[in-house]
Assembly symmetry: C2
Homo-oligomer: 395 residues x 2
């Protein structure tokens, strides 16, 4: 059987390898990108589910509009307003997780050979998603304050990209938070060069201390001409439940209309039932309370991981402790003659029954092989202590 040529653009062996790591019994995993299911507000979701199946079963079980379930679009409009984002319900479409928003952006925007700028490192499913549409990915450097905007401007001028994809708040895998000053520069670049900027924001609610700077979308009100060059992707996966598969996208009308057309032929619409549950959950007013619990728990785990990494690995590892999200992004320094290749380190770690993800697959090109990602979201404090101690033994 002769498959489509676009499949040749995608390298999945790295990803498959990652998942194989996780099967060993007794393993402590820092490898996943999953939220902690113990923090799901199951009572609230049950209450919301009961309500929608009691009040409106015919509609939630029937076909629905491709744009989304209207009560959810209205609820999201109000939810976004709390983050300083003015978006009418008709400026929001719902998607089958924010992964689908990325897919619809790819389908709507990318011709084979188009340049697309992503952060180095970035979310690996974005790399693969855009490559399936034939994107030629260009990487922009990142530090603890997010993408380096002078370098980004040079890349935009040089490559004239179709779009720039960023995770400004608590990046995956970088954990970085784009500074307020850089956010404004990114918006100025979008307006100046008329280049679409995709703001992927699954982690923005997971801050440990101070509230992060406003989203690019919220700030766009201050930068004339920038909003029409922004597409914002939101998700309930890290704050409510990934199993519902409910995300959303906010963008200018023509882009949204084309994305809706593509969605019509991708999956017709997102499940009305899960959209209605999310809408009803928002209406119950429980999200803030659930989020507060998630923030406290993840903050403790992040603190524990930082303390243990310093204690167990010392100067053999460098990292910036994240201020939110789910990830530590670290690199092996080679100090004291220790291992500098994270893939080798990962193999030895597996032998010691602890798993993480080497940084390699998060780079669209020019991988930094000393890097690796640790998630602190699903392991409790004792597991984090024990797991990082095993990392120390492995190194």
């Amino acid at each position: 059987m002769q498959f489509a040529d676009r499949l040749k653009n995608v390298e999945t062996s790295a990803i498959r390898e990652l998942f194989k790591l996780l099967g060993k019994p007794g393993i402590i995993s820092f490898a996943g990108g999953f939220p902690d299911p113990a923090l799901f507000d199951v009572d609230g979701i049950r209450q919301a589910t009961d309500a929608v199946l009691s009040n409106n079963p015919g509609a939630v079980l029937q076909y629905g509009a491709t744009e989304g379930w209207n009560p959810l679009r209205e609820g999201l409009s109000a939810h976004m307003a709390k983050k300083g984002i003015a978006a009418r319900p008709d400026e929001i479409i719902t998607t089958t997780g924010s992964q689908q928003a990325l897919d619809l952006i790819g389908k709507t925007m990318i011709n084979p050979g188009d340049k697309v700028i992503v952060e180095a490192p970035t979310f690996l499913a974005t790399i693969q998603c855009f490559r399936l549409y034939g994107a030629d990915l260009v990487t922009a450097p990142v530090d603890a304050d997010g993408v380096q905007v002078d370098a980004l401007e040079k890349l935009i001028v040089e490559h004239k990209p179709k779009l720039v994809y960023l995770i400004p708040t608590f990046g995956n895998p970088s954990g970085a938070m784009l500074s307020l000053e850089r956010r404004k520069r990114v918006l100025e670049l979008a307006a100046k060069y008329q280049v679409l900027v995709v703001e992927d924001d699954p982690y923005g609610e997971l801050f440990f201390g101070a509230t992060p700077p406003p989203t690019l979308l919220a700030l766009s009100a201050e930068v004339p001409g920038s909003r029409e060059w922004l597409a914002y992707c939101g998700s309930f996966s890290k704050v409510l439940s990934p199993g519902l598969r409910v995300g959303w996208m906010i963008a200018q009308p023509a882009l949204l209309a084309n994305a809706v057309m593509c969605k019509q032929f991708s999956d017709a619409h997102t499940s009305n039932l899960t959209q209605a549950i999310a809408a009803q959950y928002l209406a119950l007013g429980r999200l803030d309370g659930a989020l507060a619990q998630v923030r406290v728990t993840y903050a403790e785990r992040a603190q524990m991981m930082a303390d243990c990494l310093r204690k167990e690995l010392g100067d053999a590892v460098s990292f910036s402790a994240p201020q939110g999200g789910m990830f530590f992004w670290a690199s092996l320094t080679g100090a004291g003659g220790k291992e500098k290749d994270a893939a080798e380190f990962a193999k030895r770690a597996i032998d010691k029954l602890v798993a993480f993800v080497p940084g390699n697959p998060f780079f669209a090109n020019h991988a930094d092989r000393s890097t690796f990602r640790l998630s602190f979201a699903t392991a409790d404090l004792a597991k984090i202590q024990e797991g990082v101690a095993r990392l120390g033994q492995a190194l």
Copy 2:
């Protein structure tokens, strides 16, 4: 903003026009492709939902495998066995409605410019879905016994298509049922010419009298070499609930593996919650009872529509009464000097407060403008009488 060139392949104005038809107050609609929500087994779905949220909330609300929720894949394997289809759970993947199965087939198989054979007429979202991947569609003629296999063979020889897409059982919009003899010929053609045949089967359970011939997939056991050239798409949308967005695909391992890879970057996975509800619903053993009710109701409505069409429109309209599914496919004969253009007829019908879909958009090319589609699924018997009487007045 410069969108991707693939959007130029798709004509959606015809579809948008269709949906605009339905807004008028007091209208009787035969236009939709929706099942009757009054026939949804809401009690069964509630019972299944309560069970999965009580027994397994952490897992159904968490991320899941791209291939699908394993209890559902197991349930589908057993469900398919009742239809004579031998498919292990690992030969089945779940999709976000069967629309996504079509999208994944397009993404996995179609290069821009590839020829794809579809029936004339066929499901319009398939036409648009495949065209977004650049397919050059070729149409094969259909009669009441389904696609004409001699013509199909000639088209395969001439065009060397990447795939052939068929709705063998109660086609949308044709209502046609592919005969047993022709099913075997289609399988022989698949094996002989090594061409992928996609069997889309959303309506196969909705038979009014005798059980339809076995699916192509079931029959493939009798035609050596054919099974590896088959992809079967199933759906709960017409038999349980479209709002759940749960469909499935059965195909040979390499095609399935590539489809799973594409799905990973399309929406990560289908909602675990709705998959678990479908699995639990199958386990409750209520589907056969619910289906029996749907069959009886739709059979009565189809009979009423046939009787009324003959009485009210006489020889001005020709049609074959369907033996299942949701649609009448009819054409204007022009007898007695009456209207022969279905689009004109549709406009006059809207003036009389009855809606249907002119046949034009269901043809990938060479539209037969005398044709139109009537759905009898959502109107009760009195509405069908009144609606068809209005059609008579409009003509």
